[in-house]
Symmetry: C2
Subunit: 303 residues, 2 copies
């Protein structure tokens, strides 16, 4: 799967991913009002509005980007109808040729992680009938439970040509509380990075592995170290834009081949119409303009 993502990055010349994280506050009022008119103040109405909003973003940007990253929490907060909008979003993005990274951050004991893997990037066997329940291309995984929480995902990756990004150093302010604690003279995130590299050798797909890592744009110095520790891992970099990461911070996440990282922006794109810079633009046009600006920012930083 990682080779498919790399192909898209090269074709679009854009190592970026748009985060489809539709918080209620990001939705233009008319979309929400129309949905409430039709279905009342219900989760079903919100789910309709969320999908309509996403479809607008995707239609306005899909030709510029290789991938999207829907954050499942933003759908799960609206219960079953929200998750139906998540699934609709996954399917719609795939129909537009985009690689879909489900930001699910699941992780559990072995048999339970296997169930998550099956549900999201694998298939269930219903007495001979194979069904792919959520069918994302790649998902994010939480490593706190160790190898036997991660390996079931890798097994399912190998069976279905899918990928995972394992949380190594997250973008949030308190990520250091546990992740930076020093173990045998090195921070824990380095240890997790080493494990990611070693797990990844079992799922190579060309020059890179289907087992990648999440490292926040907000910690560029750590990104530099982790880049060296995990040479075969693609790095998914959240935290660009709204969380404070800038283009120049990103260079260390890339390898010398210009590959090795893909940078996410969520509200910086999908809620761009709320920024002064894009004032007066429709949310779709603003999203497209913000994608163009983001590609330009990262490209010039990489040169």
């Amino acid at each position: 799967m990682i080779s498919k993502l790399i192909k898209g990055i090269k074709e679009k010349n854009a190592p970026i991913v748009v985060g489809l994280d539709p918080q209620l506050g990001f939705l233009p009022e008319d979309i929400l009002a129309r949905a409430y008119d039709e279905k009342g103040r219900t989760l079903e109405a919100v789910a309709d509005a969320v999908f309509e909003f996403n479809k607008g973003i995707v239609d306005a940007t899909y030709d510029l980007i290789p991938a999207v990253k829907p954050q499942i929490a933003m759908y799960e907060q609206f219960g079953i109808p929200g998750l139906m909008a998540y699934k609709q979003t996954v399917d719609y993005c795939k129909s537009k040729g985009l690689v879909v990274i489900g930001d699910i951050k699941r992780g559990d004991i072995g048999s339970t992680s296997e169930a998550y893997a099956i549900g999201h990037i694998g298939s269930v066997d219903l007495g001979g009938e194979k069904v792919y329940p959520f069918d994302e291309d790649i998902v994010t995984v939480n490593p706190y439970l160790g190898s036997d929480g991660v390996k079931p995902f890798i097994k399912v990756c190998n069976e279905n040509d899918r990928g995972i990004f394992v949380l190594v150093k997250t973008s949030n302010p308190s990520s250091g509380e546990f992740q930076d604690r020093v173990v045998d003279g090195r921070p824990l995130y380095e240890l997790v990075g080493e494990m990611v590299n070693s797990w990844g050798l079992d799922s190579m797909d060309g020059e890179y592995s289907n087992v990648g890592a999440v490292v926040g744009a907000t910690y560029p110095e750590m990104g530099k170290i982790l880049r060296d520790i995990m040479p075969k891992a693609y790095i998914l970099v959240p935290g660009y834009g709204a969380q404070g990461g800038k283009g120049k911070d990103l260079v260390h996440f890339f390898n010398s081949d210009g590959l090795g990282a893909i940078v996410n922006s969520s509200r910086g794109i999908i809620a761009a119409y709320k920024q002064e810079k894009y004032a007066g633009m429709d949310y779709k046009d603003a999203a497209r303009a913000a994608v163009v600006d983001m590609i330009e920012d990262i490209s010039s930083a990489l040169q």
Copy 2:
């Protein structure tokens, strides 16, 4: 919420929780066959079978137990229909007076954790209309992202009288890979335990906190240490039975008041009919017998 759980534990004299983790292999063949006959080899059929199976277990045991713990992965593996069966299970168990612990192990950056918290133990505000999407009583939370991934859950707990159990030391064989790493002379899980204790002070509910911890029955010595580090935290103890934990291993998880811990068994109860000990029994009768045996095993160990 923890006081409600404690009340149930005292009334039933049973510090146990039944894990509703309906793997396909646990379902009696006739339940699955009937569902396939009705709805074909579909996720909808499996979801129907799962709920019927759960209902049988709950009807056979609810008068003996204070709480259930559905593992959401076992439903999520069946996509949207599976999650509908999860929600049906949550609602049915609540209608029988049980405390429902959603084993969801979510955890993310602040705004995203808040979305999970709202979806599972809180409410969304749909322009003045308050809706509770999943509406569990308590959920499990993964601490890898630190305080700002956990605190949004506590905020929502306080607003809605709910609870969380934070993963501290998990029951699986590889849990030590990261959790046991020595930081400042002590294993990481102790550090997480200290944080749980400190987070919990913001959500006291009687003698105990709404912020509890998950510590595996498979690590009784660590349970003893963590019991001291987190005096106000209820400990949810998985790993009893099928994973190898025994009644005598559990004493250290309890405080001297006989409270402070609740022990989970999943397949040991719901798939008891597959054990030699309960051979020939209907799955519901076997589940009830296994609950009685588990209560007896733990009670005699605690005496």
